[in-house]
């Protein structure tokens, strides 16, 4: 099939390809109907890329999915119109929608792990797309390989014979892109197409998607939580907030000159757009009020006051293979770095870089195979009994998953009280006073203490986790992807809190993350890891200004939209 055949003729340019007018979507829940989307409107011209930006729960995916009739079964369009190429498809018949799906409107879903059927071969899943849209001729096998190859899947003919579980995440996403574009749709709905992937892979796949849709003249409706990414990839950005469109317009204009307060908030907090380290509100005011001397700078640290010294750290895991044979896997390979007291050291790397294993060893939850970690001059691995118990008081973790880090059976009071109880600090009265203080420190109302974790949002849970970590007045906090699962604004809020606490309490952070944008906001020093080894390390400013390794350069390039605001 000729690629150009379906390209939009010029005279069509004035009819919008997709037009959504005053759309309202209602979900019927056990607590009655909920309006998920109100007064939403957007217009996509042929060949144009439009991005919907919003936090989770903003209604961005719901709006997009309504265009191909993929609302969940309890959702319905309760008002407004959806026009595709001038045709009203708001309440189109099932038959008409099925006709449109695939060859007029394609979709690339979010999570590559769950969106391919695990029991069918990749080739089969591509072929049935072609078949359903009447595009599978006699040479359908070749066509399948062709489509997969176009999406950047190497050795496509052989790969087509494999099952999804034999593919990596990036390859699965390429297969999904192949499926989405196989029938040359005029509109592609891409729902956070890469947010589940490593940053460098993310960028490669987005670039490839960009090139393909430009060549094919496909219009793209990109759904993302990342304003920087939206501005980089789309001509037009639509910002949604609590089910409503609050602002829309040319991408760069929205980014540089946001009008609605919510958009302004987003632009100010987007980590990918930030170019400096966070400072607390207090020290900001101190800087602006020039009457006072700026003494509230970062805590003073003498040149060699290292609270953590990691030297030649190595961890080897045995992986059990077939028939009881086991192979060695070096998760961490000869890693060394020092952390100065009162500063933040970030360890950056993609999945499989060994960064979390380093964190586990620093917490003394895993024993190193070789090398050692010194905390305040004492080798952590040699700690036993009382000394280890004391170490546990001084080093605290904060984990990634806000849904997993608090015991759902304990209320907030008992959660924060637990460390005090374990270390037998105070009586019940003084403990309650301490819990109140801690909640106040993390800006949570004291009344929260009677609540249970499931009643709090992800950001609030993370603040409770911070309060629990602070209960024992630790010296070092190890944050393992502590903000990665949070929405942009909430993430900024938690990062600010961490920065404030560092200043007030002189805390040291070991900050494990995959996100260089976050590093820019929180860290003083960075260690970049790849496949268990340290690639590069230095101060944050040095690394961002002059990365000496190409891997670091790749990671930096992968931050979307970083150069757009300059």
């Amino acid at each position: 099939m000729n690629v150009n055949e379906r390209n939009t003729p010029m005279n069509d340019a004035e009819t919008p390809l997709l037009e959504i007018r005053d759309l309202a979507i209602t979900f019927d829940t056990s607590n009655g109907p909920v309006n998920a989307v109100r007064n939403a409107h957007l217009t996509i011209m042929p060949g144009e890329t439009v991005a919907i930006v919003g936090e989770s729960g903003s209604g961005k995916s719901t709006t997009a999915l309504s265009a191909i009739g993929l609302l969940p079964s309890n959702g319905r369009v309760s008002g407004g119109q959806i026009l595709f190429d001038g045709e009203d498809i708001t309440h189109a018949s099932e038959k008409r929608i099925i006709e449109l799906r695939g060859n007029s409107i394609g979709m690339v879903p979010q999570d590559p792990m769950s969106n391919l059927n695990p029991v069918w071969k990749i080739g089969f899943q591509v072929k049935e797309t072609l078949k359903a849209n009447g595009l599978a001729g006699a040479n359908s096998k070749d066509r399948v390989a062709e489509v997969l190859a176009e999406a950047g899947l190497p050795d496509a003919a052989a790969r087509a014979k494999q099952y999804p579980h034999e593919f990596s995440g990036g390859m699965r996403q390429r297969a999904l892109i192949a499926i989405g574009l196989a029938c040359r749709p005029r509109l592609l709905i891409a729902d956070e197409p890469t947010s589940a992937l490593d940053v460098t892979v993310q960028r490669q796949i987005l670039d490839h998607l960009d090139t393909m849709t430009t060549e094919l003249g496909t219009a793209v409706l990109l759904i993302t939580h990342d304003l920087g990414l939206a501005a980089e990839r789309a001509e037009k950005v639509v910002v949604m907030y609590k089910g409503q469109v609050v602002e829309s317009g040319p991408a760069l204009e929205i980014l540089r000159n946001p009008q609605h307060p919510y958009t302004q908030r987003l632009v100010n907090s987007a980590p990918s757009l930030s170019s400096r380290r966070l400072q607390s509100e207090k020290s900001k005011t101190a800087e602006t009020q020039l009457t006072k001397p700026a003494v509230v700078a970062a805590p003073v640290a003498t040149a060699d006051d290292h609270i953590v010294q990691v030297s030649n750290l190595t961890k080897v895991f045995k992986i059990r293979g077939a028939l009881g044979k086991s192979t060695d896997f070096k998760a961490v390979d000869d890693v060394s770095f020092d952390v100065k007291r009162g500063t933040t050291m970030a360890i950056v790397g993609e999945s499989g870089s060994g960064k979390s294993t380093v964190a586990q060893m620093a917490l003394s939850l895993l024993t190193p195979t070789e090398g050692n970690i010194k905390f305040d001059g004492v080798d952590v691995t040699s700690l036993r009994g009382k000394a280890l118990f004391d170490f546990r008081r001084r080093v605290q973790p904060i984990f990634q998953d806000p849904y997993g880090s608090l015991d759902p059976m304990l209320n907030i009071y008992r959660t924060i009280e637990e460390p005090l109880k374990i270390h037998k600090i105070g009586d019940s009265k003084s403990r309650e006073k301490k819990v109140r203080e801690l909640l106040d420190q993390v800006s949570m109302p004291a009344a929260t203490m009677h609540r249970y974790p499931n009643e709090l949002s992800g950001g609030q849970r993370q603040r409770i986790a911070i309060a629990r970590a602070l209960a024992l007045n630790p010296d070092l906090i190890i944050c393992d992807e502590a903000v990665s699962a949070l929405d942009v604004l909430v993430q900024a809020q938690v990062l600010n809190l961490l920065a404030e606490l560092q200043e007030d309490l002189g805390l040291t952070y070991l900050f494990i993350t995959h996100d260089l944008a976050v590093v820019r906001q929180i860290a003083d020093n960075v260690t970049v890891m790849q496949k268990g080894r340290v690639v590069e390390s230095g101060t944050t400013d040095e690394i961002f200004a002059n990365p000496s390794q190409s891997y670091t350069q790749d990671l930096l390039n992968a931050i979307p939209g970083a150069t757009l605001l300059a």
């Binding site: 892979v201 960028r203 204009e253 609605h260 546990r392 605290q396 270390h423 604004l489």
Partner: protein, 340 residues
């Protein structure tokens, strides 16, 4: 499986420059800003203090209270419990006293004071049904407690510590699964040691021996799901010992599926006891039980089905209420429904 197999780097380089500057459209794009009064801003991540705080169990209870399935089954179970503990409240005839049976009444139908008629031996069917409740319920309740203790502890330890204990438990489970419960119970119950000392307790021991692997499997799975949760790791990092973390965090969080299965199992244990008694291998004839009554009534089933049907009905309704309770609990304790 590796990402290295794909020449992603080559692809990315060719496409990189275009995207860096962002895209500028040749078309005129209107810049729309919604009026602020229509889209008011809310403070970021505000704590919702409107609803009353609820623990997991309180929340489940709130859901359960509204479920007809739960209300019906809970009321039925309550009624059965009362009958089992105080049978004398429901009939003035004490069927354990042989003198209340008279062969003159053999097979007679219902009459005043004897609403359900008489058995072949001339005993009152209704009174026997009421007094038979206790044995069935005792078997169900104590077997469930037994399997919960044995299976729960074994499963929790195997799931939490893994290693050789887990391996042994897995094989042991396989062996017991290869022997269906009724078959295994048949073999045990006809051993001399059991056959000559038949009582409620021998039946309970037999059912526990063959019932525990199922609870062990469920517990093990639930514990494995929770043992690596961040809140467990966090507690260990706070200085809590590994065993205390199991007791304080892992086990409470693993209870929900175990309780559901235990409730349903309670019903199936009652059925198993009745089946064994029906085969003549369960409770001794001296113990009044539904299974025995059904077994006794079997020869006359064609002439006088009522004598068989009444204890069967009592048995079925009791079992049904426990299974319905389990079903209602499963919905109320479903972790998927709780995340928001």
């Amino acid at each position: 499986m590796s990402e290295n197999l794909t020449p992603e780097n080559d692809l990315s380089k060719s496409a990189k420059p275009a995207a860096r500057q962002g895209k500028v459209s040749s078309r005129v794009i209107e810049h729309f800003v919604a009026p602020l009064e229509e889209t008011p801003l809310v403070a970021v991540d505000k704590v919702d203090m409107t609803a009353a705080p609820l623990s997991l169990w309180a929340d489940a209870w709130k859901n359960l209270r509204k479920q007809p399935l739960f209300i019906i089954s809970a009321l039925l179970i309550l009624a059965v419990l009362v009958v089992a503990i105080f049978p004398q409240w429901f009939t003035h005839i004490d069927p354990t006293d042989q003198s209340t049976c008279s062969l003159n009444d053999s097979g007679e139908g219902a009459r005043s004071g004897h609403p359900l008629g008489f058995t072949l031996q001339g005993c009152d069917v209704y009174a026997r049904m009421i007094y038979g409740t206790r044995a069935s319920l005792m078997v169900g309740v104590f077997t469930t407690i037994g399997v919960l203790l044995l299976g729960g502890i074994m499963g929790a330890l195997a799931g939490y510590y893994g290693g050789w204990l887990d391996a042994i438990l897995a094989r042991l489970g396989d062996i017991f699964f290869a022997l269906p419960m009724i078959l295994g119970a048949i073999i045990i119950m006809q051993l001399p040691a059991f056959r000559d000392n038949r009582s409620v307790w021998t039946v309970i021991v037999t059912l526990v021996v063959f019932g525990w692997p199922q609870i062990a499997r469920i517990t093990r799975g639930a514990v494995i799901e929770n043992r690596n949760a961040d809140f467990v790791t966090a507690s260990k990092a706070l200085g809590l010992s590994s065993f205390k973390a199991l007791v304080k965090h892992v086990i409470p969080n693993s209870m929900a599926p175990v309780i559901v299965v235990a409730s349903i199992s309670l019903g199936t244990f009652i059925v198993a006891e009745a089946t064994l008694s029906f085969l003549g291998l369960g409770l001794p004839q001296s113990v009044m039980s539904w299974g025995n009554d059904i077994s006794d009534a079997q020869p006359q089933v064609r002439n006088n089905p009522a004598v068989l049907l009444w204890p069967a009905l009592a048995l079925s309704i009791t079992v049904l209420s426990f299974i319905m309770l389990g079903d209602a609990l499963r919905d109320a304790l479903d972790p998927k429904a709780r995340k928001r």
